[in-house]
């Protein structure tokens, strides 16, 4: 599925999180919120990874850390093969190659700047002012705003949501980045604009070799655009693999639960509703962080391995790109690839 059509020398992975940890300490409670709690993830050249998970699991925080907006408390962000330094110059360099696209394009664009100024801001800042006009037009064209001249003098409020998001993307493309980190890039758009913007991301991957990390809580979106899917739960990646592996043959009970609530899948799989409270990153349960809500654990109460669920944290997944990885004591023993069977019998039987 990956269309690594463009061969460019350099490291295979353009952006990587290595044992990344981001915590937020609030004044009131003593325990800091571990929003990103030891994450490994490597984004290859011309690859789109979808990062999915419930609200509050740390997706945006991971995205912001990768862009360099949040300084991690532990681990490293590897940019172009070298660990990111948080000096001003290094950050500036990093931010040229890794661009952020936010959820709400209307808010992400300064309402009092024209499209030209919005797209030209990045290049100006990075001193790319020779051929600025041409650069802006090229970026707009690449983002699908054609003819670009027609959009230059407009203000964000004169554009549709989809066009606004294209302007945001053009602003990123104007810097010729190697990676887009897109935090729910289409969730505020209507259905038709949604499809167009996703199509655009795929086109950019195919034509420019642009990589993207797309944050979403929409599994359908992941299915449509991603090469690989990373499933995040409470600050940790719990399942990682190709789209087919993760979405058709999910191994982690959490992924299965997420998938079982998709409308089309209800007939094929037992509906699994997650039990318990929404997770709090300031109080991550011991053992497997999912065990208080895990349907599989609930079912396997007599299995000796159930004790592991309570006591042992499953291994942190490495950033391998060629295997299907699952952070679960039961699934790790090698579960049969059987997408149609109900989850309980699929694993550890």
């Amino acid at each position: 599925m990956s269309a690594a059509a463009i061969e460019v020398p350099g490291p295979a992975d353009v952006l990587e999180a290595r044992n990344l940890r981001v915590t937020f300490s609030s004044r009131r409670s003593a325990a800091p919120a571990r929003a990103v709690d030891d994450v490994n993830l490597a984004l290859g050249r011309a690859e789109i990874i979808a990062l999915i998970g419930e609200s509050g699991c740390g997706k945006s925080t991971l995205a912001r850390a990768l862009v360099g907006l949040v300084k991690p408390q532990g681990g490293q962000v590897i940019s172009q093969g070298a660990p990111l330094k948080y000096s001003k110059a290094a950050l500036r360099q990093h931010r040229r190659s890794v661009q952020l696209v936010l959820q709400d394009p209307a808010g992400a664009l300064n309402p009092r700047h024209t499209v030209y100024d919005l797209v030209a801001e990045g290049p100006r800042l990075h001193g790319l002012t020779g051929n600025l006009y041409e650069r802006v037009c090229t970026a707009l064209t690449q983002a699908g705003l054609r003819p670009p001249e027609q959009f230059l003098a407009r203000y964000p409020h004169q554009l549709s949501g989809g066009q606004q998001q294209r302007v945001v993307i053009a602003g990123a493309l104007a810097l010729e980045p190697s990676v887009l980190v897109a935090d729910e890039p289409v969730s505020s758009l209507d259905a038709s604009a949604r499809g167009e913007v996703l199509r655009l991301l795929i086109d950019l991957r195919d034509t420019l070799g642009l990589s993207a990390l797309v944050v979403s809580h929409d599994l359908g979106l992941a299915w449509n655009i991603a090469d690989r899917v990373a499933v995040m739960y409470l600050g940790r990646i719990v399942e990682l693999g190709t789209v087919e592996e993760v979405l058709l043959r999910p191994q982690h009970p959490y992924t299965r639960a997420l998938l079982s609530i998709l409308p089309g899948r209800r007939s094929a799989q037992t509906l699994t509703l997650l039990q318990g409270e929404a997770p709090d990153p300031a109080a991550i349960p011991g053992g497997c962080r999912f065990h208080p809500r895990c349907p599989l654990y609930a079912e396997k109460a007599d299995d000796p391995r159930a004790q592991w669920c309570r006591e042992r944290d499953p291994q942190v997944l490495p950033a391998l790109s060629d295997s299907h990885l699952v952070a679960c004591h039961f699934a790790a023993s090698g579960a049969p690839d059987n997408p149609t069977a109900p989850p309980a019998s699929a694993v550890g039987a």
Binding site: R96, P111, T129
Partner: protein, 351 residues
């Protein structure tokens, strides 16, 4: 076109590739006309209210003008007829309207001069005092408001917001008197630093640098009083306007592009917060009038405020009416400017 494409200047140059969209930002004459008409309406309503209020002032002008000299009832009736006080309130209102339309308010009862010439000589000092105080108060308020609003809850924010609000709640009269006592009369080790009142010292040469310095010296205390009680508004307006901008995603976008914090503030947050702030500040200029009257009175500053104060004691109706028209007219004009400014500057609001 090819030559123009080489840089940025293409957009500002004459043969721009930019279509007419930019030009749409202009405000149409239709809008301007409607808005001006509305201002006129509110001006008329204000005039009516002002007239009614002045007619309700309880003291009798004829009595005050006679100054407790023993006057016979006939003389009194004569005086009342002279002043036009014997006429019905409706007739007097039409006189007043005629005066407003012709700009001629007749003679001040108290000063026995034409109201026009009184206002003419007082308007300069008032413009000087209010203008200086407003400039300082706006500049100071905006600067502090930006610093405070960018990091709400910081020490800087808490200190300056607290100070400003405290000064704001102090009565102008009281603050003026305190400054007068401390810095003009002198208290303990503090010598008398500034003159106690007026706008210039008659012993100083009335021309040139010496005169300017003399006026500036007299200006310090009244100006300080006005600034102290008004900069809080500007600070709070700017601060809250900036705090409103802080949550906006475009600031994150700008940071992610590589802008440093100070650049994000100066290029994005402050300009966008400035527009609503300036608008509100223009609307607040009216609030300065009350402060100006009190300040001019405390420091005997020979401006419109002092005229009003002296006029109210009588009440000197022609004088009050004349100054009232000036004050309310300028407040309404400022409101109109604020509104039009907003429309010109904000691309999202179009006529």
């Amino acid at each position: 076109m090819a030559a123009l494409r080489n840089d940025d200047a293409a957009l500002t140059a004459g043969t721009d590739p930019v279509p007419a969209v930019r030009r749409r930002r202009r405000i149409g004459w239709g809008y301007f006309g409607r808005r001006a008409l509305m201002s006129l309406e509110s001006f008329l309503v204000t005039l009516v209210i002002g007239f009614i209020v002045f007619s309700l002032v309880p003291s009798d002008p004829a009595q005050s003008l006679a100054r407790a000299q023993s006057v016979t009832p006939e003389q009194m009736a004569d005086l009342r007829a002279q002043l036009g006080l014997d006429q019905s309130i409706v007739v007097r209102f039409f006189h007043f309207l005629r005066n407003v339309l012709t700009g001629n308010f007749g003679y001040s009862w108290e000063y026995r001069q034409s109201v026009g010439s009184l206002i003419g000589s007082a308007i300069g000092p008032t413009l000087l005092l209010m203008g200086t105080a407003t400039l300082i108060s706006v500049a100071l308020g905006l600067w502090l408001g930006v610093r405070a609003g960018w990091k709400p809850g910081s020490k800087f924010d808490r200190f300056w917001t607290g100070t400003a609000v405290t000064l704001w709640s102090v009565p102008t009269f009281w603050l003026g008197m305190m400054l007068l006592v401390v810095f003009s009369i002198g208290v303990g080790p503090i010598p008398s630093l500034f003159p106690a009142g007026g706008m210039s010292d008659p012993t100083v040469d009335g021309h040139g640098i010496a005169h300017i310095l003399d006026v500036a010296h007299h200006l310090v205390l009244p100006c300080l009083t006005l600034v102290a009680v008004t900069f809080a508004q500007n600070l709070m307006i700017m601060r809250s306007s900036l705090v409103d901008e802080l949550g906006n995603a475009y600031l994150t976008t700008a940071r992610a592009k590589g802008l440093r914090d100070a650049e994000v503030r100066q290029r994005h947050a402050v300009p966008n917060a400035m527009l609503p702030a300036i608008t509100v500040i223009f609307l607040q200029v009216g609030g300065l009038v009350g402060g100006a009257i009190v300040t001019e009175t405390v420091f005997s500053w020979p401006g419109l405020g002092l005229l009003v104060y002296n006029g109210i004691k009588i009440p000197d109706l022609p004088l009050l009416e004349g100054t009232f028209v000036i004050f309310s007219g300028s407040v309404i004009v400022f409101n109109l400017i604020a509104d039009l400014l907003y429309r010109v500057l904000d691309p999202r609001v179009q006529g």
